[in-house]
Symmetry: C2
Subunit: 208 residues, 2 copies
DNA sequence: TCCGCACGATACCGATGGGTATCGTTAGGC
DNA sequence: GCCTAACGATACCCATCGGTATCGTGCGGA
């Protein structure tokens, strides 16, 4: 529950549960869910398998909790961007895109945790899948809200376009050139917004 | 090795190698690579594990061969669309997008084989990963070529935008509404092309 | 001081999975 | 009509992995 600071630094000895979640985050992100055994997580967390099973019922529960935290981080980005640009939905959307774009190098060769996890969890009834679906629905709702507030016609279409672009960027970055991906993504988002904003006045510049 | 005239005794089933590849395709696509054991593939192919290892050195080799086939299918779509609309790159791109859009329902709850496989194969030196990377590079090259031929300024940017949209659509469809995804994707692609086609002349119709 | 309890370490269990060895059988080519 | 080779089936080897049981240990609170 304690969604405290998610810092990859496990230098200082945090309580076991935090260390376990940190280790799981690093390993799941870099290696994938199924490739990482509980034993490996325990070693990285400088604890033992037993300690993990004292805090989490099963490995699946640990996976689910990890994705819950990642989802909370994303939603925090939404909150931050809304607080930073109150009443300016266009800047909010661009801020969100920037958040993703700036995160691209970090995940470069290993993509979005949600996308990867879905690939590894084909069972839709898996609790982790439900976390992902709920998060995606939440994200879509907020994005549509921003587009509506921006006065864009057909906000659902715009939100869908933005979502496609954001997720496509994260996927494509896994095996392409990372250097330009962020800049390209920003231009795409700007283009989407401006195209919908003024369909009869497309002469406005799309470059930043 | 090259004797394709094997005569099955009882049923008119395909030669073992074909059956194995068919079974692998179905299972890998629906369940994922790591979740599917060689034994399961053998049962689905109505053969045995040994037969599989007679035709493929390892499971990884089978995975690689499967992805090679999928890549060939995609490239066939490129060929088809180029043959169908010779000298009309805009229609070629839209035809390609339609190919993806129409394929969305089929992969609905289980996404693109490449994206999923990358998630399951974090090792970039894996031969299957190299197949994927080569395919993506090839696809990008052809897409950039189409954009160049269409006289679009900054064809790399357009190709990147299209790629993001196509892959994003396939990812987002996994856990969202499939019904509108195809139509939304087509509108996105049209919007991308037309926005770049004539930034100073946006009065032309965007619908086909 | 002593009790409780979370923690650490190790050994273990059952299941699964990749890969191999070996058997008999069958089909096709000369 | 034989000889080679691919095929089918079974049993097996070994590693890994999720999960459990059982030890011991240190530490804080009443």
């Amino acid at each position: 529950m304690a969604s405290t600071a998610r810092r990859p630094s496990r230098v200082a000895k945090l309580p076991p549960r935090e260390r376990i979640l940190d280790a799981a985050e690093e390993l799941f992100q870099s290696e994938g869910i199924r490739r990482v055994g509980v034993q490996a997580i325990a070693e990285r967390a400088e604890t033992t398998k037993m300690a993990i099973y004292r805090h989490f019922e099963t490995k699946d529960a640990l996976v689910t909790e990890w994705l819950r935290i990642v989802a909370a981080d994303y939603q925090a980005a939404f909150d931050r961007v809304e607080a930073e640009y109150p009443g300016r939905p266009r800047e909010q959307i661009l801020g969100l895109a920037r958040f993703i774009a700036e995160g691209l190098p970090a995940i470069s060769h290993r993509g979005c945790p949600f996308i990867n996890s879905i690939a590894e969890l084909p069972d839709r009834s898996h609790p982790a899948r439900q976390v992902i679906e709920k998060h995606k629905a939440h994200q879509t709702r907020r994005l549509v809200g921003m587009c509506t507030e921006a006065g864009l016609p057909d906000p659902e279409q715009v939100a869908a376009e933005i979502t496609f672009a954001l997720e496509g960027a994260q996927v494509s970055t896994q095996n392409g050139s990372i250097d330009q991906a962020g800049a390209r993504l920003m231009r795409i988002i700007e283009g989407i917004i401006d195209r919908h904003r003024s369909p009869l006045d497309a002469s406005r510049a799309t470059t930043d």
